[in-house]
Amino acid sequence: EAGVAQSPRYKIIEKRQSVAFWCNPISGHATLYWYQQILGQGPKLLIQFQNNGVVDDSQLPKDRFSAERLKGVDSTLKIQPAKLEDSAVYLCASSFLFGTASYEQYFGPGTRLTVT
């Protein structure tokens, strides 16, 4: 079974530029999550989708971050414009959905973003 795919693996941009990350979840997983992990901390949930609908985006900085999952499969997370404090690893995860219950999450390798 293929795992969660993410690209790119690394990205370096200057502040005020824009950047986009892509995630393809495990086949059949209806729930998709984007996390931000700052060095030395645990992952923080940014947004959670069930199919193509947003379940939770309470911790997404909506003035600069956006995410979409148009066909309920792959997803894109965008930052525009980037700030220095956005330097982090962006992790995508997916899980199987049964009714309203999500099961164990599986993580992709992450995208390491450096903003200079």
């Binding site: 999550y33 949930l45 992450g110």
Partner: protein
Amino acid sequence: GIQVEQSPPDLILQEGANSTLRCNFSDSVNNLQWFHQNPWGQLINLFYIPSGTKQNGRLSATTVATERYSLLYISSSQTTDSGVYFCAVERVLPGNQFYFGTGTSLTVIP
């Protein structure tokens, strides 16, 4: 949100030693997972354990949901066990949001 505290924050072990990592959470949860983040940053699933006890080789985990804690046991530690161990809990509705703990950084020395 839910507060998730892990202890100890750092742990150094001699190869072959045993250890217990703890995860306390502040509210009722639907699910709990343990992860190992390796030195390359990949989060690897260890256990999906909302309650009860599970074992996988040298690792085992116990969750006592009514008392809001989970334990991860590592026996006969190896250098490849080094990394950061996270627990993550899924709160009861609304939103089924997952909260990660602060992690335990484990170093196993030969």
